[in-house]
Amino acid sequence: MRKFKSVMSVVAATALFAGTLAGCGGSSNTSDAPATEESKAEETTEAAEGEAPAANSGATFKIGSIGPLTGGAAAYGNAVVNSVELAVAEINAAGGINGYQVEMKGEDDELNAEKSVNAYNSLKDWGMQFLVGATTSACSLAVSDYTHEDNMFQLTPSASAADCVSYDNVFRVCFSDPNQGLASAQYIAGHSLGTKIAVIYDSSDPYSSGVYQTFAQEAANQGLEIVSAEAFTADSKTDFSVQLQKAKDAEADLLFLPIYYTEASLILTQANTMGYAPTFFGVDGMDGILTVENFDTSLAEGLMLLTPFAADATDDLTVNYVKNYSDKYGETPNQFGADAYDAVYVIKQCLEEAGATPDMSVSDLCDVMKSTIVKITAKGLTSDVMTWDASGEPNKEPKAVVIQNGAYVSVE
């Protein structure tokens, strides 16, 4: 038995080495020969594989994307990766960027910063030149340390925490948490939607507590009174009667919900059962509430939210995007997807503006992108006018919508 154990440990150690060596195999030839086996992995768009024009001798731009594709937050990661895929397929069908085709690959991070870095490294081996990701804040933050080291251009669609864009090579498409909190407080005060405000937020979620923090700070400046601020955590997000009762007892006339739509739908249902009907006000995480299963959407009547994207907007861009997305993936896209879709087109616009080619090094491309993105004015799903400054924050107008008759209606 003892002997067998040592045999086993040798076998196991050999297997380990073999595994690691096998992992090394692909690394040396990815950078300048995109047609390796790795690049034909499943996530690669069909268009990029099939229609790469021979004239460019196979040179392609490579966009990588990272997000939680499995687990509880899979909806966000899949929206991002699918939208990148959709945008890349459209760009390829229309002739690519500067005549070069584009390839994309999405990797799973399971909402885990450690895995996100692994995903980034694996994409780097694939030959990624631009990163559209990571989808969530903590992951994006961890990855940005590595992109900064490698000087790779990172444009995150939806990582909203303030620190995410602290490096000069990282930009974002969405509003930052502080901006959302700020805009919400200013909007509520500016339109006198309420004076006594209750807040229910998720203290275990950086996004939610980040928005709440700046909201509370700005509310004080705006003369809004926060009469009740109650938290819940990811482990206790099914029963909100206590938080709602406190808000009701404090006679709050506006309930601010800087949370995701799944919990918000429960809060609306439970508030209705209690007979408590303040004005509900949400931020961009609220987008998607009309698609929650078994949720009586009439309860969302009058709900206001600040969101950059509304899936039932009627402009051509949104209509096309929503139609193509639902045809391909069988569901209505959310604002995460819209941000990612915009991100790809922003990269395209920058590359075209600068006349960049795929044979440039990752670092050179990053320098080109950094200097170009601050000059361009982009138009996309999430805003008609988007500009960036060197801080990495986008300048765009927050849009407030109110739900009327089961649909978003813009308010002014």
Partner: protein, 348 residues
Amino acid sequence: MTSKKKRIKDNLITYGIVIALYIVMEILLKTGNLSSHLKGLLVPMTYYAIIAVALNLCVGILGELSIGHCGFMCIGAFASAIFSKLTADTLPDGIRLFIAFIIGIAVAALFGFLIGIPVLRLKGDYLAIVTLAFGEIIKNVINAVYMGVDSKGVHFSLNNVMDLGMEPDGQVIINGAMGITGTPRTANFTIAIVVLLLSLFVVLNLMNSRDGRAIMAVRDNSIAAEASGINVTGYKMMAFTISAAIAGAAGVLFSHNITSLTATSQYFGYNASIMILVYVVLGGIGNIRGSVIAAAILYLLPEMLRGLNTYRMLIYSIVLIVMMLFNWAPAAIEWREKVVNRFVKRNA
């Protein structure tokens, strides 16, 4: 071969495997043959091996089932990250990391000791439940804490950042659920391997010492051990505290290898603790070398299967079942022995 010689040889094989792995990796690294994906996996792989060693000390040598060991890792990670963040500009990297290790290990050991006082009076399943609860408490408390430092000293709050009432020059260290961001990333593979070797050295020597024999006697029959004059509680505390300290060291590596440290369940929840337990059980309870190998393989496996996309989760689970059966099912053991015997006979 005497048992002592055999034991020394056995230990040397364990160190040898780790050192061989290190040398191979370093050669690949220096010659530029290592993919960046694998390069990034080296440090995590090592700290999971370290915490597997720590848990094996608790589960295999002490015989107490702990399913909250990631809680100690969490404490070590946060204690050291707070220190490193505070001294990021004042101390050079090497000294800072060294002191961070001491702090992380000491704080984790202290908590191991404190938790051990009430917990080690329980046995078996009860202990498992309490450690589970403890791991969750740590995670939830850290998630609720806000801590900031300014010219007036340290501020704490359980509500929000505004309640800290800091001066404008203040720096927020722990930002509630957002955790600690911006810890200097100073850990590397060499340091991780040194820590792994040190923890192996501590655990293997403990096992073969007088204290270690006493601990194993407590495991095998605590009544008999007590009757022979062994201080049962004392030895339990000793093993549990050392185990917590090593888990704390793994935490220090964790927090110094990633810039955004959050006390979320992906890293420190009971699922993570169970994952470590899987490494230990699969590597063999009480078999320290097995823990290291199992941790390394099982951490690398899902990453190496990335090409299979979401199917990798399924394959990973199937591999777990197959490995468990292959290692421990009586029929599989019998079959393996038959194969080995035939192989040995043919060679003879």
